[in-house]
Symmetry: C2
Subunit: 240 residues, 2 copies
């Protein structure tokens, strides 16, 4: 059985402006690989209602799981929850369970549970809350879409909650070999090796570094013995 | 007149596996902002024919310009050029002009211009070549899609060739203010400021750092005087 598939949707102008580097994608990519869920696509869209709704609908239809990051805080530019509700034609408002969690949190810290903070209790009717042990404001899952915060520590905590609830497949294993020869010199034998192992994914990632150049060859697959066998053959091919 | 819009399409399993961090997106995002071209979306897809063809068609239809990175080398997993040709129903084969460039390059270095390297001369019939001063193998532009290499030095050189040929708009200017208060405390006044300046984009990006927490507020717009005015008001709001 093939592994389940996944997509990540990152929401936020600050990534597209080049101002902030995105780390949640890489964090989750590694976790998904280990869980045997194949990450097939990542999209980054701006804080724009149509863009978010369209991306949620397209990715939800195309992949088994969708993970979103960003846009669920208290400020006016946090519109993800409302957009995800719209994507599924679900009703959204401040929900009692999320409201109670947040009210208890702010009351205990003597902080005002004002209108802005109450925005973070806006949860679609049919969604299940995702616990946030870091700063309480919950994420939520609706159908196959998991809506999580953009702040890395909160995102990671939410991933830790959600991921064990999903059925994964065989973890994707990989081995790599650094070959200090031009891709043009290794491409022929490499293509033959890829043809001989149709169940493996063999990628070539060229580098130039301090005047040296070459390519990192990465062999990936769920059958560890087969990955081992292929990397031995690869090494033999280019050790001459 | 609104600024032209753009999308970036990154092609490569190595990004989705979490193995390699993507830098071309951030590089180009900064250049586009300076050129007055609004980056609206980035997609990362795997080395999969259907995924690449679908993304090229969708992004080309949705935005004024599309920039792709990766998958135009000599190895078997480099399928971008063929996929872009398919996306536009264009014929593709080794093209004389690209072949001549590459042959002269490898001849001058006494390197074999073998079948794998000749793959890099596969260019759609209707495309215009993008010069590659670093390693010769050209990129190409077809309709509103600019197909560039994934190796950062080559990508950057190709951006330097392509960008001046595009008509940009007013550069997007930004100013930011770091506020060491919770987003929930500043969200109300911030939303009022955003309403007062509908032509500006005002984003709030929370941080936690060494126990301190707060939010970086970024105000963006093409009218520098208006951005200045808004940042002064913002500073006054939260300096009390």
């Amino acid at each position: 059985m093939p592994n389940p598939t996944a997509a990540i949707l990152i929401i936020g102008d600050e990534i597209l402006s080049g101002r902030t580097r995105e780390g949640n994608m890489y964090y989750l990519a590694g976790k998904l690989t280990a869980a045997g869920i194949d990450l097939k696509e990542t999209r980054i869209v701006s804080d724009d209602r149509d863009a978010i709704v369209g991306a949620v609908q397209a990715l939800s239809a195309a992949y088994d799981h969708v993970f979103t990051s960003g846009g669920i805080g208290p400020t006016h530019d946090d519109i993800t929850a409302d957009c995800v509700a719209a994507a599924f034609n679900d009703h959204i408002d401040v929900r009692d369970d999320a409201y109670a969690l947040l009210k208890a949190h702010y009351d205990s810290r003597d902080q005002e549970f004002n209108e802005a903070r109450q925005r973070m209790a806006r949860i679609p009717d049919s969604a299940t809350l995702i616990e946030n042990p870091v700063s309480i404001a919950p994420g939520f899952s609706i159908q196959n879409v998991h809506v999580m915060a953009g702040v890395p520590s909160v995102f990671q905590a939410m991933v830790a909650t959600v991921l064990p609830t999903l059925t994964g497949g065989a973890p994707l294993l990989s081995q790599s070999l650094r070959i200090e020869r031009g891709e043009g010199d290794i491409a022929g034998p490499l293509a033959e090796l890829a043809e001989a192992y149709p169940d493996l994914s063999i990628g070539s990632y060229p580098f130039t570094q301090n005047g040296a150049y070459g390519s990192n060859i990465v062999i990936r697959g769920t059958d560890g013995a087969m990955v081992d066998e292929a990397i031995v053959k690869l090494t033999a091919l280019f050790s001459a």
